[in-house]
Amino acid sequence: MAEEHYLELSENPVQFEHASSVNNVFFDEANKQVFAVRSGGATGVVVKGPDDKCSVAFRMDDKGEVKCIKFSIGNKILAVQRTLKSVVFPDKRSLKLLKSQSINVNWYQYCPETAVILLSTTVQGNVLQPFAFRNGTMTKMSKFEIELPVIPKPAKLSLSERDIAMATIYGQLYVMYLKHHSRTVNSPGAEVVLYHLPRDGTCKKSHVLKLNMTGKFALNIVDNLVVVHHQSSQVSGSEPEPGPFSGPAAVPTQPPVPCQLYSSSWSVFQPDIIISASEGYLWYLQVKLPPTVHLLQDKGKLMDFLLRRRDCKMVILSVCSQSQEKASLPVVATVFDKLNQVYKEYLEAEQSYAAATESGTSRGGAAQKRPVRTQAVIDQSDMYTHVLSSFTERKDVTHKFIIAVVMEYIRSLNQYQITVQHYLYELVIKTLVQNNLFYMLHQFLQYHVLSDSKPLACLLLSLESTYPPAHQLSLDMLKVGPEPDRVGRYSHAVNRSSREAPLNCHLGNTTEKIAIPDDFNKVSRTLR
């Protein structure tokens, strides 16, 4: 299958001069910048960032081997570390000590997205002390212990920074621990243990992802998916949070530039960066959604998975189209329900935002943010355009099934109290008429399943010559509608007008033009 791979490296990696005897490469995780330092800076430093169209280049005096080099935000201040204990700022500025903390630290990790630093303390190194940086202050968070697979005796450092990664998943900070089980223990293999680190409160172990493999691993987070790279089998799998699904094997697609996949010179940075210093590339790891549809057989779970991904709309719609060929009605119903739940949540958020802004700022408090419409919001227009209108034209599916599917969508919309758009009702009527299912149409109208509206009433009138009861049904509909007193005059207008399909509906003494869709007229004409 050509479409197997659902993880891929970005098409246009950031290219830089690869590491060599004269060139040292440094990566700043906070700003995601790559520094290529030639000859200690004497022959030039080239800085490339993810969004930079052009790189920043400068020279600095070679004052010894550079251990670390970073820019501040906006590339305003440069910091260079050449010794173990000092940092140099080329520009003269004043520096102020804000806070100091005395702790025995083995190693640290910093998460720029959340501005949290994690310190490894104690001899074994598995008691982690986080600090949060906020508004120029440093706050101590509650410390927590990572469960080690084996307690070493005598105690020694058993947790290295390579085993830990920090990541934001669904807006929450997690500490991921790559737990390797020793070979003697009959365990299935390595695990990824997730610890949820909330802003306030204690850190708790939240998930365990079983890998069923041993060896060298690396972790990335892409689109809220935990990606585990396994070097020896050259494979990467992913697990979404919460609720993992079986991690399948997938190999990234061939990147456009020649390089060695999974080479040992690859470095993985959070959340989604892979760097090959020896070849001079920085890639972003990306998810290709279309191949993922084959991963989950249960369409309900597949929907849950897709609804959480960023660029999910077209994939979801294509799953809907396909499932209507093969799936059964209960599955179709479940899919519709999941989509409409998300759709309804968005509609409600929009409504409360509109209500809040209307009532003005008199309410005080923080101004509400306009709800963002993610791709997971599939509305009726999307469903109609991409799925239903072509589905109803299919010749290889029974008309019974077509109508059942559309009615299932209408049922689902009603269940979530979403007003059904009139073009969906038109679709039902058109399909029923095309298949001569007039007695069904009559019953739907009798029970007001197809909600009354003026456009629908006019549509029914255009059916009159093929199906006489339509006359009565449309008059009833007009009576219930917004202008009931016009109905009496209207009925006379109908009796006198020509029997050619009226493209305009004349109501009362004003001529109100209500367009009847062209294809509908075609249908009613062919039936005569």
Partner: protein
């Protein structure tokens, strides 16, 4: 079948035998004409057309079939209580909100998808129709059979004794109240034989013969019709029972809940204070606040038979012309009868008011239309 005009004997003064006076106006031809047509429809439902019998075995077979059918059927007729409703031969529809209706649609579609043998489905609640997959004329006679013959024969299982086979069936872990009204009465007995009644409905080329499966759970009844060419096995019945039983039970309680809620919302104003009969020729929908529950053996009306005859006469008048009409009749004592015909609909109202006049009566009827029939267009 012979219907005699009722007669009264008038004693004669001169010692001659009493004179017999036939009271032709007491009987409405339209009513008994309709009864005859209905007899034929009922025969045809279970036996197919006369022509079919003739083809199979000539006149002899036809006579046999007719004898067999009418021997039982005629005993169920109560000609004295036949009236306007027989002329209409309508169907009473159960009022339902949109959401519950859609749930029922969903149920019907899913059952038809899982059990692909099923060709047509009908759904009833409380002896009233909600959904019909059959064409109108077929549903009309099937409805009459169900409501006047089949349903009255079966009592509710909740009333049955502890050891009765009518107790709720346990399917797996699900307790459900579903059971077959036609076919196997006891699924647990593998030796018991069963058969489903066969009915004939109209199809593209004449007619088609179907098995009639009627399955009930509490007050909800589902009719499943399967081609008679298929042999229905015990396994199939068990499959249907385990699929439909729980779902139908749930639906029945949903409908009951909705109905109670709607009754509470609409309040006592909607309770019929008017005595009326409504019929729509287009969808055969009928509603009567005059007739009590119709069973095979009894049909009570709450109005004097003379008034029913007036209704019948008005109906005859309506049938003569195509145009919309309104007829108001001042009957005996304080009774007024109003008949209204609009498009394909007929409405008959019986009012009892002292010192009423045409204008008052007219306004009362308008009020009735506005409250009871507010979503139906009646030309004034």
């Amino acid at each position: 079948m012979v219907v005699r005009n009722p007669m009264i004997e008038k004693p004669n003064k001169d010692g001659k035998p009493p004179a017999i006076e036939y009271q032709e106006e007491e009987i409405l031809d339209t009513v008994y004409g309709a009864v005859v047509r209905q007899c034929y429809s009922m025969y045809k439902l279970f036996n197919g057309t006369f022509g079919r019998a003739m083809e199979a075995g000539g006149v002899e077979l036809l006579i046999q079939k007719l004898e067999k059918f009418f021997y039982r059927y005629l005993q169920t007729l109560h000609l004295q209580s036949c009236d306007l409703l027989d002329v209409f031969g309508g169907i009473s529809f159960f009022p339902l909100d949109k959401m519950t209706y859609l749930k029922i649609q969903s149920f019907v579609n899913r059952v038809e998808e899982s059990l692909s043998l099923i060709k047509y489905t009908a759904f009833l609640y409380n002896d009233q129709l909600i959904w019909s997959g059959l064409e109108q004329d077929d549903m009309r006679i099937l409805y009459k059979y169900l409501t006047t013959s089949l349903f009255p024969r079966h009592s509710e299982p909740e009333l049955a004794g502890r050891d009765s086979p009518l107790r709720p069936e346990v399917t797996g872990n699900l307790l459900h109240y579903g059971r077959f009204l036609t076919g196997p009465t006891n699924l647990k007995d593998p030796e018991a034989k069963f058969r489903f009644p066969k009915i004939f409905v109209s199809a593209e080329e004449g007619y088609e013969e179907l098995h009639l499966i009627v399955y009930k759970a509490m007050s909800a009844a589902a009719c499943f019709m399967i081609s008679a060419t298929v042999e229905l096995t015990r396994e199939f019945c068990e499959q249907l029972d385990s699929l439909v039983g729980p779902q139908l039970t749930l639906l029945a309680s949903d409908i009951c809940e909705q109905f109670t809620i709607n009754r509470r919302i609409s309040g006592p104003e909607k309770e019929p204070q008017f005595k009326f009969i409504y019929f729509n020729h287009m969808n055969l929908a009928e509603k009567s606040t005059i007739h009590m529950r119709k069973t095979a053996s009894v049909c009570l009306t709450s109005v004097h038979p003379d008034l029913m005859k007036i209704l019948g006469d008005i109906n005859c008048d309506f049938a003569r012309f195509d145009e919309d009409e309104e007829i108001i009749v001042k009957a005996m004592t304080d009774y007024w009868v109003v008949g209204k015909k609009s498009d394909q609909r007929e409405l008959y109202v019986i009012l009892n008011q002292k010192n009423a006049n045409l204008i008052l009566v007219n306004e009362e009827v308008k009020r009735l239309c506005a409250t009871q029939f507010n979503n139906i267009f009646f030309l004034d």
